[in-house]
Chain length 337, copies 2
């Protein structure tokens, strides 16, 4: 039904359309790709491909354009991820290596990815929920105020100012700090609530108000950051590509953390590349766009995701190559630091 030549025709259509941005006709196809058959034969194949929903014509008597289904087939079976050049790899490596903290890593990554793909890059901050506690610190600021700092194994720092119910002396703070660290060191953030549940009971009664206050702030900060931060860059690249759908919608979606999160996050397999094409995307306003995303994280366990968003008509092999490469390098950087 869909024999090899028809697939070759589909691949040729996708490639030509991506590079020229114009509906591609049978004649041009026969000329540019040596398929070994005449335009008429190609027309027959194209008629079949259209009937099966892989391509469509914008109007009668125009060339063909791939449908979302056509792109899907192309990505799944007709293309290979294109690796980056050695020069590009080196550039990525040195650029990311200069990062000083987790903030910087994320900022650099998102810019790098935007520049590399000439599209909009999206990077999620490394998830708190999958990381572990490296250290908890309590810093007295004044008699009744405390700075609470939580440091994770990904180098992320959460801090809150705690208003205390009573004046508390330094010794008690030190004691609580020691207990917290003994209790939490190395444990996953998701298990923190369980671990600290009975902690007040193990303290002398006079320390319990302090402990309760600090713990409530600790737990609150965890919940807060459940909704994780996402940044993007390269919005200017949208201006070049003329969207069928208004780019207002796209820009709005980009500023909606929630939407972005679900775009990056909803996936079956975290370790490989996820490609979501046009209407596969559940959000109206992002119908004309595709997303290529990958997970990243230090040492096997995925911490967060990153990806790019661009017009459905994008160069998938190249984009996928760039996303994969950047995800790998970021993982390396995070593992090293």
């Amino acid at each position: 039904m869909v024999d090899d030549r028809k697939l070759a025709v589909l691949r040729a259509i996708v490639e030509d359309y991506v590079s020229t941005n114009e509906p591609v006709g049978s004649k041009a196809l026969a000329e540019r790709h040596n398929l070994g058959v005449s335009p008429a034969t190609i027309r027959n194949d194209m008629a079949v491909l259209e009937e099966q929903g892989y391509i469509a014509q914008p109007h009668t008597s125009a060339g063909r354009v791939p449908t979302d289904k056509g792109y899907r087939l192309f990505v799944d079976r007709l293309s290979q991820v294109k690796p980056l050049s050695a020069a590009e790899r080196r550039a990525i490596e040195t650029f990311l290596a200069g990062a000083v903290d987790i903030d910087d890593v994320v900022t650099r990554t998102v810019r790098l990815l935007a520049q590399l793909t000439r599209q909009v890059a999206v990077v999620q901050y490394p998830s708190l929920t999958r990381s572990t506690v490296r250290h908890v610190e309590l810093v007295p600021l004044s008699e009744r105020r405390l700075m609470f700092v939580l440091i994770t194994n990904t180098g992320r720092v959460e801090q809150r100012v705690v208003e205390l119910p009573d004046v508390v002396d330094e010794a008690r703070v030190a004691h609580l700090r020691a207990m917290l660290n003994a209790c939490l060191d190395g444990c996953g953030l998701t298990s923190v609530p369980d671990k600290v549940a009975d902690l007040p009971d193990r303290l002398p009664p006079e320390d319990r108000p302090l402990a309760a206050t600090v713990l409530s702030v600790l737990l609150e900060s965890l919940v807060e950051r459940q909704e994780e931060k996402i940044v993007f860059a390269g919005a200017a690249n949208l201006a070049g590509a003329d969207f069928t759908v208004g780019l207002r919608d796209v820009l709005e979606a980009l500023e909606e953390q929630v939407v972005l999160m679900r775009l990056l996050g909803e996936t079956s397999d975290p370790s490989t590349l996820t490609v979501r094409i046009g209407s596969e995307n559940p959000y109206t306003g992002l119908q004309g766009t595709s997303i290529v995303a990958a997970g990243y994280g230090s040492g096997g366990n995925q911490l967060a995701r990153l990806g790019v968003l661009g017009p459905t008509r994008m160069d998938y092999p190249v984009t996928m190559g760039a996303v994969r490469a950047v995800a790998r390098y970021v993982s390396q950087i995070l593992a090293a630091s």
Copy 2:
């Protein structure tokens, strides 16, 4: 030369053009504003205003449009900043009051401002250079690694991981921490380098390598953040307003921290509203846009700036009112926390 009625005509032109986005003619002007004179008279006035460069016509026989010079006169002499409604004020207050940390304050502010003005909002992070040290903390992570944390009076936290030259025991770290805090507490960030210059000399020789390492990281982190962070929101609002100049340029400028910084920052008087109109703006690509900015900060001293960027054809009184109000409320919030 430029009598009252001509100014009234100019004001009417600006107001009508801003609300309709179409060149405004003498007849429409005479109808919508009761200037008490006939269209013919208005035509005479308009001819004079045009000759003086306050208005222009896109083509012969179209209505008039304000020039940058016309907007400037309007802003300086013909308009009053429009205060927000009580409801808006309450909304701002409650929305900002919910912020948990400085990051959250900035994020909320920029979104608020974007939504309020329906334009692109830009907010600069409170400057480190004008704030003071509240606390320095050193947290041992492992035998040869230290987490260095600097907390400022604006609630901002800078942290770095320090790789130590030798294994260092806890007591020495505690000692150095005490010395650092004693030395730096409350002092302005700009004076930190001076204050710590002779600190190694006041330590026993065996502590000096540790101190030197920590200090170098401290100083480096100050330099790093000299180049301050700026965030923006509301890019989607650009899509609605049709720019004469490509909006690609505008988006690019928005992602260039340096450009934004100078847009917000270059100003004579920090305390009042700054308005930069169209070509007054030194950056090509931002010719068709205006910037309304204001400083904010706790307790009189300005910490940073915020503002909005929109098409030259914007509602200046309303926009200026919103920017001013938000700047005030943010200052309040910062002073309170």
